[in-house]
């Protein structure tokens, strides 16, 4: 890394200075501004910073930040790892992450789904990790089939090893042009975006699972699916689920040699067990065996505030982030059914200004527990719950909702800016 040309060294150093200033003046965590300054001075900076490192790029609709963190923790067994831990997942964030760990031989970068082709091309990363694709912020995001098509083009003929979730048909299609893929059965509770074949448009059949209408994914309990339920195949063409070499089986990971590893991680919920299996498969691609990677995954307790607990006057609120229907389905799986729950929804730019996705979430699982509704779009959520026959109380703010609780624990599900508002009011402890 010390071999950077003078111009790139300067750009990188000025970028770090801007980041420090941003933090010192309280404007942000500095991860974007620093990268922007660096990129403006040296457009080729990301390519130069990526050279001579072993890089993994992590992309998906949900779980990017957490999986990036899990893989980073694992690879720290091998040496220093540069990473964009705070979710600044576009090229400016990548420049910032790599220049703040100049000598780290490894890099794990969370990458926005849209930017993935560009970042693969610029960095020439040796490993790409793809978990899931589902509807998300449709007012500004690209349509997901088009996204998967761009992934295919970016991976075709490139010397990149892909780790991909074979249970997600669209991810499988997006990954399958890569010359070498490690397929992981990591599950796919949200199926509403994959009833049709991405290759030919024909109906996808799933063994042991008839078509479930949207909103008919009842119970909200995303229990361990059987391997049969994870299987899928097109009825009309030859596109079908590849044979996975890693499998998430309930609480256990099964490695390619058939050995079973109880995961026993501290992060809660099915989605995080899926992220953990993906992380183990990625670690192995870097030469790190399960017995050394898994203990590192178990050390991770909270990721950028997710799953952390904030406290005020004896009320302990556990924060869950859910940004889209698939994310809410996974968040419901983490809820403690004996606790009240506070829901907060905004529709600012980063959330998507369109709240119609609320109607794709099956809220009926919340019946029978106290539900408190707040956030800038609380009326959208209130009507949604009313139509789902879920009783609720409308609250003027999150602080009011928290104060309305008896002392003790409460669960919170919030979308992106609602979540960040709660964190900034109640402390950014990670």
């Amino acid at each position: 890394m010390s071999q950077l040309p003078l111009r790139a060294q300067l750009a990188s150093a000025l970028g770090r200075t801007a980041a420090t200033l941003s933090r010192a003046t309280g404007r942000g965590d500095g991860s974007v501004i620093g990268g922007r300054v660096g990129l403006a001075l040296e457009p080729d900076l990301l390519r130069k910073l990526a050279q001579d490192r072993r890089l993994a790029l992590v992309s998906a609709t949900n779980g990017k930040t957490t999986t990036t963190r899990l893989i980073t923790s694992a690879l720290q067994e091998l040496g220093d790892v540069a990473t964009n831990a705070f979710g600044a997942n576009m090229p400016a964030g990548h420049v910032s992450a790599l220049s703040s760990a100049k000598d780290a031989p490894y890099g794990v970068l969370e990458v926005d789904e849209k930017y993935l082709p560009e970042v693969i091309d610029t960095t020439g990363a040796g490993v790409v990790v793809l978990m899931n694709l589902s509807r998300d912020q449709m007012d500004r995001a690209a349509e997901i089939w088009l996204l998967a098509q761009k992934w295919r083009r970016a991976l075709a003929g490139r010397n990149t090893h892909v780790i991909a979730n074979a249970d997600d048909p669209l991810v499988t299609w997006g990954a399958s042009t890569a010359p070498s893929v490690t397929w992981v059965s990591a599950g796919q509770p949200w199926k509403e975006d994959s009833w049709c074949c991405p290759e030919c448009g024909g109906p996808l059949d799933r063994k042991g699972l008839d078509y479930v209408p949207p909103g008919g994914h009842v119970s909200g309990v995303v229990g361990p699916a059987t391997q049969d339920e994870n299987d899928w195949a097109c009825r009309e063409c030859s596109f079908r689920r590849p044979q996975p070499s890693w499998i998430l089986d309930g609480e256990t990971a099964i490695d390619p040699r058939g050995r079973r590893w109880p995961l026993d991680i501290q992060l809660p919920g099915r989605a995080n067990r899926a992220n953990a299996v993906i992380a183990l498969a990625t670690a192995e691609a870097f030469g790190l065996p399960v017995e050394r990677a898994l203990p590192r995954l178990r050390e991770v307790t909270s990721v950028a505030g997710r799953y952390t607990t904030v406290e005020r006057e004896g009320r302990h609120a556990r924060l869950l982030l859910a940004k889209n229907p698939a994310g809410w389905l996974e968040a419901f799986d983490v809820l403690d059914p004996t606790l009240p729950v506070i829901l907060s929804v905004n529709a600012q730019g980063p959330d998507g200004r369109d709240t119609s996705w609320l109607w794709d979430v099956d809220y009926r699982v919340l019946r029978g527990r106290p539900v408190y509704v707040t956030g800038e779009r609380k009326f959208d959520l209130a009507l949604r719950l009313e139509v789902a026959d879920v009783p609720f109380q409308l609250m003027g703010s999150f602080a009011q909702a928290l104060a309305a609780q008896p002392p003790g624990k409460v669960d919170v599900i919030a979308n992106y800016t609602a979540f960040q508002q709660i964190r900034s009011e109640f402390g950014r402890a990670v």
């Binding site: 449709m138 049709c196 369109d354 996705w357 609320l358 794709d360 009326f379 139509v387």
Partner: protein, 239 residues
């Protein structure tokens, strides 16, 4: 629909066209019918399956370009929806589903693709994407309050003499000529995507009136109204 029988809702192709919370329209119709004591039966028709002809209200939603083309091909081949509408069934067609109802719409590269010809409209691709809140004054003949909703499309739709505009836009793009949506007989189409009926319970009740032949009884609309008022206040320019 005989007064003692079940109201049959048919949701067409949720596997292809249900991108923007389109389920909301089904759920709102179910809820508003049940609150009036009308039993409801909903059928989800997957695109590989035939469209039943015996429904009372048909719903079709929004989606991406490719599924939209597939849906048009399959509906034309199937013919069930045409027979149902000829029989006098009601329909709400939203966004991509709205464009399909016309003679032609714009495909992935803007190329013309044949629609299914249930509404006298023709759609193509506009210059830019229309994304955002929409407010429109409804045709007074329908007795439906001001429309509020969200649009997200690149379509421009030209209305032929066989349809009437559903509304005139106050904020937003709609069909692209100052009107938004259209209707003919008991078929209504709109660019207001996803849960259009959650924002416009009056439109839901219009469909119920068409399907049952009777004006539905008033019900408690407090949460519908609070959302409508909040959205209209946030969207309309301040006087």
């Amino acid at each position: 629909m005989p007064s003692d029988s079940v109201l049959r809702l048919v949701w067409i192709y949720p596997d292809l066209l249900s991108t923007y919370g389109d389920q909301g329209n089904v759920l709102v119709l179910e809820q508003r019918a049940r609150r009036r004591g009308i039993p409801v039966e909903t059928v989800h028709v997957r695109s590989a399956d035939p469209v039943p002809e015996s429904g009372d209200i048909y719903l079709i939603g929004g989606g991406e370009d490719r599924p939209q083309i597939l849906a048009a091909q399959r509906l034309r081949r199937d013919g069930g929806l045409h027979r149902a509408i000829a029989r006098g069934a009601a329909m709400l067609a939203v966004c991509a589903g709205y464009q399909i109802m016309g003679s032609v719409f714009g495909g992935e590269e803007g190329q013309p693709v044949d629609g299914i010809g249930l509404l006298d409209i023709a759609s193509g691709r506009g210059a830019g994407r229309a994304v955002g809140e929409l407010v429109a004054e409804t045709d007074p003949a329908l007795g439906v309050p001001t429309l509020t909703g969200f649009e997200n499309h690149m379509g421009v739709t030209r209305l032929g003499p066989g349809v009437r505009p559903l509304s005139r836009t106050v904020v937003g793009t709609g069909n692209g000529d100052g009107t938004e949506g259209c209707y003919a007989g008991k078929v209504v189409g709109t660019y207001l995507h996803g849960p259009a009926l959650a924002r416009n319970p009056g439109l839901a009740d219009l469909l119920l009136t068409w399907a049952t032949g009777a004006q539905p009884a008033p019900i408690d609309d407090v949460w519908f109204e609070r959302l409508r008022q909040e959205r209209l206040a946030a969207t309309l320019p301040r006087a």
